[in-house]
């Protein structure tokens, strides 16, 4: 395998506004550094895909954005959200996670009814009225309403994997976040369910900024507006998706997306 200069990168200057930006973000698991000086700006109401080989630090970076690495890793640098650096001890992490939601690789609905999966977190936040409206609204936004509206009291665990994942998306957006982080949300799903989630994302970007980790490059090419390529913890290229997959700027990106890696 060719050796690449990890300090060279190409960062396309996208037009703002930006929902969230990072400045010199470094993440350390003990002595092991997993993210190196990541400087990324995520345009609002756009889908940005994070791609790269497994172990390249995509999840580590993503989880830092809503402080899920607290207690697991040391994170230095700035994460700017709405004018404040949310990577500071004083910041309320629960509020950060309400505003920056996360959908994981494996659907993880609660062992409760479909209705309660969405209503429960809302109640936790102190919401008492208008719950059923919010449940319906969220299920519609996640493109699940038509499939479940007549069985809201049934267990969420009886849904198919794809439906469960859309329920988790509905749950994440029910609390009205601004940013939705998704870590390989379709990798455990069949192609049809995956396409449904991708279609859902296109609808959601009207209201949310989406950052999605995917190891499926076709998925990144099909469904994102921007793509960031990670290699060994370094952001090598951030570019418009249409450019990154046709005329990448960095040789490392070219080799990775063309399957010429190691």
């Amino acid at each position: 395998m060719a050796s690449y200069n990890l300090d060279e990168s190409y960062l396309y200057q996208a037009a703002g506004p930006f929902a969230i930006t990072t400045q010199d973000l470094n993440v350390y698991y003990g002595n092991h550094q997993a993210t190196f000086n990541a400087n990324l700006k995520f345009p609002s109401n756009r889908i940005t895909a994070l791609i790269g080989a497994s172990g390249s630090g995509k999840s580590t970076f993503l989880r830092s954005l809503n402080r899920l690495n607290d207690g697991i890793a040391r994170v230095t640098g700035k994460i700017e959200y709405q004018g404040i650096d949310i990577n500071q001890a004083a910041v309320n992490v629960y509020e950060v996670r309400r505003r920056i939601g996360m959908v994981f690789q494996h659907p993880n609905p609660f062992a409760k009814s479909i209705y309660e999966n969405i209503a429960f977190p809302l109640k936790q936040l102190g919401m008492t009225s208008d719950l059923s409206n919010r449940v319906e609204e969220s299920l519609r936004a996640a493109a699940l309403w038509d499939e479940v509206h007549d069985k809201l009291q049934e267990s969420a665990l009886d849904l198919s994997g794809g439906q469960q994942q859309r329920l988790c998306i509905a749950r994440a957006i029910a609390v009205k976040p601004e940013i939705l982080l998704m870590d390989e949300p379709t990798s455990a799903l069949d192609p049809i369910s995956s396409r449904k989630i991708e279609a859902t994302m296109q609808q959601l970007k009207k209201d949310y900024t989406i950052i999605i980790v995917t190891h499926n490059m076709q998925q990144a090419a099909r469904s994102s507006d921007f793509t960031a390529f990670f290699h060994l913890g370094h952001v090598i290229e951030f570019n418009k998706t249409s450019h990154l997959f046709t005329t990448p700027r960095m040789p490392t990106t070219e080799d990775y997306i063309s399957g010429h890696f190691g």
């Binding site: 450019h243 997959f245 046709t246 005329t247 070219e254 997306i257 063309s258 399957g259």
Partner: protein
């Protein structure tokens, strides 16, 4: 070890090279048949045209399969698109060679204009050289030569215009040459068209190398 993709891309490359060799030969023979009034050679060219067409169909299939099954990106993708587009221009060049050969058969036995035939021989040389140069560049997919090709094409466009005037004057001076003259007009227009196709080939090389879609002949374009 070569991947499935690399093996198939290599086959595509070979198909393109074969097509290039065939078309180049056809251009050489058709123009030669026209200049030398060689009816037998003209017939050979006409018979060979279907080979080029079936080569193009084969190349198209290979390219489409590569795109659909191997899902190439970046330079791999651009290479395939460039071959695919170039093959269709090559096929058109081959068609034009066929038409020139048919002109050889049609013009036979009519009074000629020697001066014009000399110029046609000269344009022919230019076109052959351009075609050789561009096919050479395709073997390494190197676009360095592209601007030079566009420059050469402008010369051909210029010859085309001046020759057209000379032909018209020739008819006025000697109406007997009218049949030959209409054939000359046809042939120089075909040669001019071939030049345009060669410029297209140069544009695809630039796309292949940089991803940019350019118009090298944008300022003068087609002449008729």
């Amino acid at each position: 070890m070569a991947t499935i993709f690399e093996n198939r891309l290599e086959k595509l490359r070979q198909s393109f090279t074969e097509m290039g060799v065939d078309v180049s030969e056809q251009i050489y023979q058709s123009t030669k048949s026209y200049i030398d009034h060689d009816v037998k050679l003209a017939q050979t060219v006409i018979d060979g045209d279907s080979d080029v067409n079936s080569n193009e169909t084969k190349l198209e299939k290979q390219a489409m399969n590569l795109i659909a099954l191997q899902q190439p990106v970046a330079s791999d993708f651009r290479i395939i698109i460039s071959y695919l587009k170039a093959a269709s221009d090559l096929e058109r060049i081959g068609d034009n060679a066929g038409t020139i050969a048919r002109e050889t058969l049609r013009a036979k036995g009519n009074p000629r204009i020697a001066d014009v035939e000399t110029v046609i021989a000269k344009i022919t040389k230019h076109v052959r050289k351009m075609l050789e140069q561009i096919l050479d560049a395709y073997t390494t997919l190197d676009a360095t030569i592209a601007p030079e090709i566009a420059q050469e094409d402008r010369k051909i466009d210029h010859y085309y215009q001046t020759t057209r005037t000379a032909i018209t004057e020739g008819i006025l001076a000697n109406p007997e040459t009218a049949v030959a003259a209409s054939s000359y007009l046809m042939v120089i227009r075909l040669l001019e068209r071939i030049g345009d196709h060669i410029v297209n080939l140069a544009e695809y090389l630039i796309y292949c190398e940089t991803g940019k879609i350019v118009e090298l002949d944008a300022d003068d374009g087609h002449l008729d």
